[in-house]
């Protein structure tokens, strides 16, 4: 790309101005993460003055292969994937549908857009508190609604599968707004002319969507898929607030937090084990990386096919 803003010394200006951001990135984000990688090969407790020994792959071996605990960890990995699958597909589809509807000239559309985006503003803690309240089993709104049909439920305190399903619901509720906004942005870059041309060819609504909207929406589709996949794989705060550390509901992100903060329930005691916690977080990192890159690769190929 040709640079127009001068030569010689002033050619360095973009680099100079770029520097603070990059330095911050290396120091605050990348550096500590690399240190975590090193940590994962040690028995570091994280306490000052405690000896730190190189233990090779022992932490990974324990996390992935030692006894029933390892099988429970792998269950959590499986659950993380299930969580990702449901959250990504539903949030993606719902966000797209809502965006398409709200891209029409409807009365009150700004109200709806604002409303659906509102949970994003609240942050995970408040999202979680709001839903704990909404799902309050002793006479909360949903409990009352079920009562009409003579049904009852413990909701978040009930069997793990049901509790887990509720977290999926809340996660989608909380983040659908972002998906919607990104789709809306994409929809607005599609020129009216394409729609008119399709109409003149006698296309119906579905055909217009299938042949005009969908292919031209590719950039937003890619952004959303990637964000949804990464976001759902790393999610843990809602699990903490809605469920706490409960058997049969943990996902990997929460597991790491719990190990790091000494809050696992397999044992009644807690220990400082930062090396082990680091190994668990590297496992999550690799998983997110592989899935994320696979999604990227798949999307690139699709984009090339569509765009020629």
């Amino acid at each position: 790309m040709t640079y127009h803003f001068g030569r010689g010394r002033s050619r360095w200006l973009p680099y100079l101005l770029l520097l603070p951001g990059i330095v911050a990135y290396f120091v605050v984000a990348l550096g500590p993460s690399l240190a975590t990688t090193l940590f994962s090969f040690t028995d570091a407790s994280g306490l000052p003055g405690a000896p730190v020994n190189w233990v090779g792959l022992a932490n990974y071996n324990e996390f992935l292969f030692l006894g029933q605990a390892a099988r429970d960890n792998l269950d959590a990995v499986g659950r993380t994937l299930i969580f990702m699958f449901f959250v990504t597909t539903i949030q993606f589809a719902l966000g797209l549908l809502v965006a398409v509807i709200l891209n029409q000239k409807l009365r009150g559309r700004n109200f709806f857009r604002t409303l659906y985006f509102m949970p994003v503003i609240l942050g995970a803690v408040i999202q979680g508190l709001i839903w704990s309240l909404f799902l309050y089993p002793l006479g909360g709104p949903l409990a009352k609604f079920l009562e009409i049909f003579g049904a009852r439920s413990e909701f978040l305190g009930g069997p793990p599968t049901e509790a887990f399903a509720w977290v999926i619901v809340v996660q989608i509720w909380a983040n659908m707004g972002t998906t919607m906004i990104i789709f809306l942005a994409g929809l607005q870059t599609i020129s009216e002319e394409y729609y008119e041309a399709a109409r003149i060819d006698g296309a119906n609504n579905w055909q217009v969507f299938r042949n005009v909207t969908w292919p031209l929406l590719t950039p937003s589709v890619n952004t959303n898929l990637l964000l949804n996949v990464i976001g759902s794989l790393q999610a843990w705060q809602l699990f903490l607030i809605l469920l706490g550390y409960r058997n049969g509901t943990q996902v990997l992100g929460y597991l790491i937090y719990a190990v790091g903060f000494g809050q696992t329930s397999g044992s009644v005691t807690s220990s400082f084990r930062q090396g082990y916690a680091a190994a668990a977080s590297i496992v999550l990192f690799l998983m997110v990386l592989v899935i994320g890159l696979a999604v990227q690769y798949f999307l690139r190929r699709r984009e090339m096919r569509l765009m020629g």
């Binding site: 790309m1 640079y3 127009h4 803003f5 001068g6 002033s10 200006l13 101005l17 770029l18 603070p20 951001g21 990135y25 120091v27 605050v28 984000a29 990348l30 550096g31 993460s33 240190a35 975590t36 994280g46 809502v98 509807i101 029409q104 000239k105 409807l106 009365r107 709806f112 604002t114 409303l115 659906y116 985006f117 949970p119 994003v120 503003i121 942050g123 803690v125 408040i126 508190l129 709001i130 309240l133 909404f134 309050y136 006479g139 909360g140 709104p141 509720w173 906004i181 990104i182 809306l184 942005a185 607005q188 870059t189 729609y195 008119e196 109409r199 609504n205 680091a278 977080s281 990192f285």
Partner: protein, 282 residues
Amino acid sequence: MSATSTSYTPMNRQVPWSKIASYAFLLLLAVVYLGPILMLVNTSLKTTPSFMRDATSVASELNFENFAEAWEKANFPRYLLNSAIYTVSATAIYVVTAVFVAFPISRGYVKYSGLVLTLYVIALFLPPALIPQFQLILRLGLYNNPIGYILLFIVNPIGIVILVNYIKTVPKELDEAAALDGCGYFRFVWSVVLPLVRPALATVVVLHAIGIWNEIILPTIYLTNKDYYPITRGLIVFQGVYGSDWPVLAAAVLMLTFPMVILFLFLQRYIVSGLTAGSVKG
């Protein structure tokens, strides 16, 4: 209502079924979105015994004392100020540095732009690094120091990715024209690019600010002096006896949310209007 329909709604036949279906769907979804929030508001206006008796009934008593109590207990005025300081400074530093990272990468004005972007994309996946990060801040002598705390929030890869993509919609011809007019690089980015990417900027600002404002764990670890607590740290008094006191907790949470909602409403014309590319479609 059908008078407002445009080319993208179905042809105007007798009954606008598609429009009716749209509204039905939007309203149904609105119930799911409003319901929990209304429950929070309703709870915040109830007395505790009334909540214990019937959690869902309408708060006819309009008990505003919950707000006063929460305000008092959580030391709101002082901690709100701290939260504002952290959120505003970190967001400002972040947004300014981010623009100067995103613009040259997006344009390819620096070598290895692709590589730098890849680094930021990888950053999306990076594992949490609680202890190493703590050691870093400690060694820098910035532990229990507002500056050190702010430092934790000056990196956010998602914002960079959003900005890089958005800047691509700003026509490259503008650069050349501006340069011909004698406009320097800094001034160009600051006074030409910045206003043009306002919608993306607004989104990045809101997303980043929300993260800082609502952070609960980092203040517990990095700020041990009470004078530095942000409001989320002050909310700890509601754990314990007050954790179960839903009405007061609900009031506190509403007050905590209020400034972010204001910020959002202020920026929402950029955000919910869909980050529109507007006149600078790429």
